[in-house]
Symmetry: D2
Subunit: 474 residues, 4 copies
């Protein structure tokens, strides 16, 4: 007797779309086949729907004490918003500042996340390479958190890892079978530009993007890749935005360097013209939004396998938080100063819809490729496969049902992220998640959240060495 | 009640390896999961084994009236040999000469193949582009044979399709949703070289390879690709042997041209030094064997996705057939004349073992990649997916059990191909098929053939348009 | 005592611009330095002018019995028009048809050219590779004509060299230290397209360009390059029009293949929109005019050294000749049938002005690069360097004075090519030749022709082996 | 009446080799042509010799107070050694440390160099970007020294320019029409490796090369190029040693970035096996010597125009200086500690011979290319063309006569560099300078130095903007 049968759907994996039923028992996939409704306590009719492994979000910043803001959501609220977007597992970053233990911070963050309705995990964050910090890398790997974030910029903010730190973290990550995650922007280019803007007295939204142009990111990307090639480790580069960086990636991947590149839906659908608007600060994120031409390069990278990961880099700040350090002119307009804007965009809930609509339904990628990009590849790279990322006997029953024909006009009302604006306001997407199941329990159905606070469990991760030895997730 | 359960194996797909059982009923996969032995009429214990979709051989020449030889095997015998190599579906080529109907010839060939123990299909062959021949393309596609072979060389033998014919077949194949298959060698280079050898009076085995060097193949490859790009169709290039051609492929694939490249195990493991031996003629095939350096380029192509297909190009001629037009010198050695050697190598049975041993067990490709290269991708490109090429509910129960640790020394005694020599004689392979199941029936077990003559059925094929619209099988 | 001193000019070579005088004696450059007017019989004041080696035209078709037309000019008239464009040496092609001796034809053509006012030479033309034809290659090289033209298309017209002929001519050209010159268009693509147009009943000018698209040229280009790589010879590809071909060239040149690529001014300044006009047939040439985007690729090729040669491919047909096989509709418009248009554009006189204006004055290439592209490189590749192509002691005093500031509006009245239209009508060029000196004699001055019929001499050519051994003219 | 005529030589430029005489008056080239001996006060017979513009050395370190050593030569002695190697102009670097004025230091260095027998100039050196230091850039450009050296490593030694300083110097150099010169090695990689060696207690010569591998240089190279692309300036990268860096250069140059790459003769002829010897420390230079494979890549770069500059990076330390901080083991062998070795190799005198022998006489480059690489290109990039770098009327009569057949076995006795060893000891070179003329005076003839202390003059330089606007010296 199964707990639940999902009947008549099309079950999706990165390599196949199979018309069959999915039987679930004790929170896990029990069997694929064709079953009678009578064999289960309850049945979901998935006729006409795609039955996909739940989306995994490995890149978000919730309750980050960033520039004094914590964001609009608690982790429980964040898990609700995610669930509406098909997300069944998420990972966040430990807080970090000099002198602290990355390991202790990661444990603290895991504790905070335990109120979530879905499974969760934590990445370490590194800003220095003291012997103590480096020693923590092994502890974190042992504790199931073998991923270590670094920023190549934000020197003034005290967040940057310098080249020496990167090399040391790369080396140790390699030794413990872990993966560094790098935010690539050249601090020298960014800071010298900001200084020039300051001297010129023009800190407008538009100048934000000019301060951190494609080459600012591309230089840092190339440097991180050279360090990886030198150390011989694997690497995750988060939120890649441009073709120049992808060309560097192609050359490295052709040498079999295990370089896993992520991009996000905002870089595919939002562009730097937003900075020309009065409320351009709402679109300020790092790296900045780029041009439609760069977005085409990103789609090419998604198609040809240069980019194997997507992530939202979700930072859900409401207008008041984005603007909290800003002043206004006498005429009510903003005194534009991009250095005073809290960085980051909300995106957790819309990653899947945007990729369904702009990717699958526009013929750029198949539903199978989408499955890899939102779930399977992420599970593999971050070390929770095959527990997560696949619909197969024995795996967790984390599932999202997708209606590829459902049309939704994105707006702040449609989303569940607790903020009063939506950068995609008015955008029609075709293809939407219609049911989310976490470990066998329906947590979103008919537009209702049915999950439970604290139902999520800490996900202990370990990366398969084959993904660290070659550039391949097959 | 199932007919058969394969218990405790590791079920392989291109994207996953899942520890679960496979339940079979009425010749088809009924379910994946964990089942009790009591649920089936019989049970196979696959503990420690990989459970893979049966190998598909889309490139072989059996009973081809080639230069007066028919080869050592009937189609039934061929299916036996294949079954020992994990092959559960095979496809051969229609005979063809000017003035004949390709469609009629294909039907005749299908009839001949009906004695096979495994499912089978037929590719058309084209040497001219008369209106009648072109009209046959649609008939063939309608009859489930949407693949059309052409040779860019063998002009003197009357087998070559000239550029005009290629363009016309490409155009029509595109219109009917089919795929041309091209043997790429520049006839002008090959024939002018052969003529030079003839004038120089040196027709030694060694000169055979020199007459058709890498550039001979690479020029034709580039030409076929340009024609494809111009017409806008998809293309299969068979038996690709070198990195120069792969570089051409990479550029075309990066433009999203649906260019599916095949290579064969002989080009990965046999090299042109064989032509230096007295019995070098046994190694004569076209294109000729190359160098180990080229083989490394092929492995790279397999790894990075430039090559998505493997095929044996099996031509099982025994020594007497290979040598039937040759004469001997007074001292008993061969009067070497490569133009009198019947071309082609036996390979049907060893494709899987060689790719297991040299590919998976040497760490060059994963077992999942192997699955794609020997089965899934072939099913997709040739239009019989998901009936074939995957272990999923609803698919044919064509399965091969692989023991990745089993060691076999290849030799003529070990193989079942009815010939008295083996070019891989003495080569130890690690990893071997240990059981073959065709449509739910065990046809090879414990080294015994248990299949049935005529059990094979004609496989009606239709290519998914998405594989013709983009270069992607995901 | 010198015959002539050119004072105060800027003497240009591919690597330098030197402010000095040029002293001439007995038709040759005697010295460079600073001389008193009293040291010479006459003096030209070149203050503010660039003193450049005379333009060499190695690609023109004058008095070609092409489709029944001979063109508007005798060779003497052609040499006058050329002289106004700074041309001091030109080369034409032997006529050729099957069964004739290429060598004899070349001699006959040389005889015809002897009425020219400037020095001249002849290229052989090959349409077949009979033993006799091949044997002529050596005779031609010995006679100072080591360049051999072939067409890869025009099969129906009986002008095409097939692949076998190309290989044989390439081989023999290599043996005698000569260079094949190839017109690259795929006959199969071109003819199959023309046939389709014929069946569709649409032979409009616009369709002409569609029949011979970029890929039609690029395929043939790649094939010619593969043949060259295979034979190991050098190659000249004439009138290259697109970036796809240039990418092929770059790869070959990076392997040090001596592949010398030519483009012409028409492909840089005239585009395929001309075919939309009622008189679009006047713009019909082969390969067809392309887009501005392709022209940018050509400029890139000129800048980065992929293209080292320019040539006009001059075919000076007047309107009546271009239209002689055409009929008119009742309303007086042309019954468009591109197959009935005599191919080719006039360009001899405007090559230098266009390259000065569009190249040098628009900052795309330096005056030194221009010198190489119009004179020095051509002299080197075609084997008349340093007799031609450089202003240095001992070289022929073939010189053109250029005023880089002179503005001229191109029109049929401004040119001297005897035809009643100008495709560049109304185009303003900045930079123009103002004096032409051939072997020490002023032949154009103040807009007057001062040369002499029959003053030209046959130029015996021999190619420096270093240019055949490497891709380098340095 | 001329002062000197060089008769019957072959006068070399980057684009031509002309058989003519060179007439000299008042230290300058007066005329090229054919002159009577009676027209000059004296005559040199150059029959059979190549008459080339004198070698320019823009990269040497003489009297550098480096690690406490000044080197074996005064500037006068250095100019003598150079003259024997055909050098007629040299440039050195200002000393520099924090808080000092780069401009003042450059003037001081010019004063020190004034004892030279040949013309000289100075590059600035920058280790910081204080407003004062940046302001000095304009002063230096105005004073004829528009080239500014920075090191990307040697942080501990206080010599490194960090990324911020590089960006500021690049920006200002651009504004004043100058060029930065960068020593590319990643400090993070180098220092972290050295630290590892120290911890492992193995500071052997061999480990020196391992600490600064190809990727150490390549990362810094890529970073410098990205900064250049970002700022939009031109750049000189000195002493490039490997193909990875050249590939980066090719991509940048293809975008028309004015990136001028230098390599040196030691990287073409000396390899890292030298570090295995007891006296391996004598071969320690930075970047380290590489492999023969990398040298082949450098030759390719020289051939295809990726590398347009050569320089010796001469640091003439005698054995005692190289070893002055080293200790010995009881058995008399060195206590190997590469951090205690004074870096740098002698090379000023052998650059021309090595390039003649390994380059021209081995068929890798033409004598014209050699001319560009040793003189013309350097004059252009460093801003002293056409005063230097060309044999043309009006240019300085700096000339070296080369006998391309002269064989010399290199040894410490043959050279004039005041040191007691020669890393090329025993190497036979074919092709050697046989006479050196500086500003019309013979300074080396028949193995004798005939120059005069203090005859050199400070060379005021200014870079032609065209070389800063495009990647092209034509
Ligand atoms: Zn980030
Ligand atoms: Zn982030
Ligand atoms: Zn074949
Ligand atoms: Zn075959
Ligand atoms: Zn042509
Ligand atoms: Zn032509
Ligand atoms: Zn240095
Ligand atoms: Zn140096």
């Amino acid at each position: 007797m199964f707990d639940l049968i999902i009947k008549n759907g099309k079950v999706v994996s990165p390599a196949s779309t199979v018309a069959c039923d999915v039987a679930i028992k004790d929170g896990k996939i029990a069997a694929l086949g064709h079953f009678n409704a009578s064999e289960a306590a309850s049945v979901v009719d998935a006729t006409g729907k795609y039955v996909m492994p739940g989306v995994i979000e490995a890149h978000m910043h919730c309750q980050a004490p960033f520039q004094g803001c914590l964001g609009a959501n608690t982790f429980f609220e964040q898990s609700i918003s995610g669930a509406f977007g098909g997300v069944t597992t998420f990972m966040d970053f430990a807080n970090m500042s000099r002198g602290q233990s990355p390991y202790t911070q990661a444990l603290a963050r895991a504790e905070e996340m335990s109120e979530s309705a879905i499974d969760y995990s934590v990445h370490g964050k590194f800003v220095e390479s003291t012997p103590e910090a480096i020693a923590d890398i092994e502890k974190m790997a042992d504790a199931g958190m073998p991923t270590f974030k670094m920023f190549m910029t934000y020197k003034k903010e005290g967040v940057m890892s310098d080249d020496e730190t990167m090399l040391k973290v790369f080396q140790k990550a390699k030794e413990v079978g872990g993966l560094p995650m790098v935010h690539c922007e050249s601090n020298a280019i960014a800071e010298s530009n900001i200084e020039k803007c300051r001297q010129a007295g023009d800190m407008s939204w538009v100048n934000f993007a000019k301060c951190k142009p494609v080459l600012c990111e591309a230089e840092a990307f190339a440097r991180a890749v050279y360090f990886t090639e030198y150390i011989g480790n694997g690497l995750i580069v988060v939120h890649t935005t441009n073709g120049e960086a992808l060309d560097t990636a192609r050359r490295a991947q052709a040498k079999d360097l295990p370089l896993y590149v992520e991009t996000g839906p905002h870089y595919l659908t939002l562009f730097d013209d937003l900075y020309q608007g009065e409320n351009g600060h709402l679109a300020i994120c790092s790296p900045p939004l780029r041009t439609p031409e760069e977005a085409e390069d990103l789609w090419q990278g998604l198609k040809d396998g240069t980019i194997l990961l997507t992530g939202s880099d979700d930072c859900t700040f409401d207008i008041d938080e984005k603007s909290m350090f800003l002043e206004k002119n006498p005429d009510g307009t903003w005194k534009q100063d991009f250095t005073k804007v809290v960085n980051g965009l909300s995106g957790l809930e819309i990653r899947l819809p945007i990729l369904l609509s702009e990717g699958v339904n526009k013929g750029r990628i198949s539903i199978n490729k989408l499955c890899a990009l939102t779930s399977t590849n992420i599970a593999k790279v971050y070390g929770c496969y095959p527990q997560k990322g696949i619909i197969a006997p024995g795996s967790d029953a984390d599932i999202v049902l997708v209606d590829l024909d459902k049309e939704v006009v994105l707006s702040k009302e449609v989303l569940h992220n607790n903020i009063s604006y939506c950068l995609h306001e008015g955008m029609k997407v075709i293809g939407y998640p219609v049911m989310t199941i976490a470990k066998g329990k329906i947590i979103v159905e008919n537009g209702q959240f049915k999950g439970e606070k604290g139902a999520g469990r800490f996900l202990k991760r370990k990366i398969d060495p084959q993904y660290l030895a070659h550039y391949s997730l097959d």
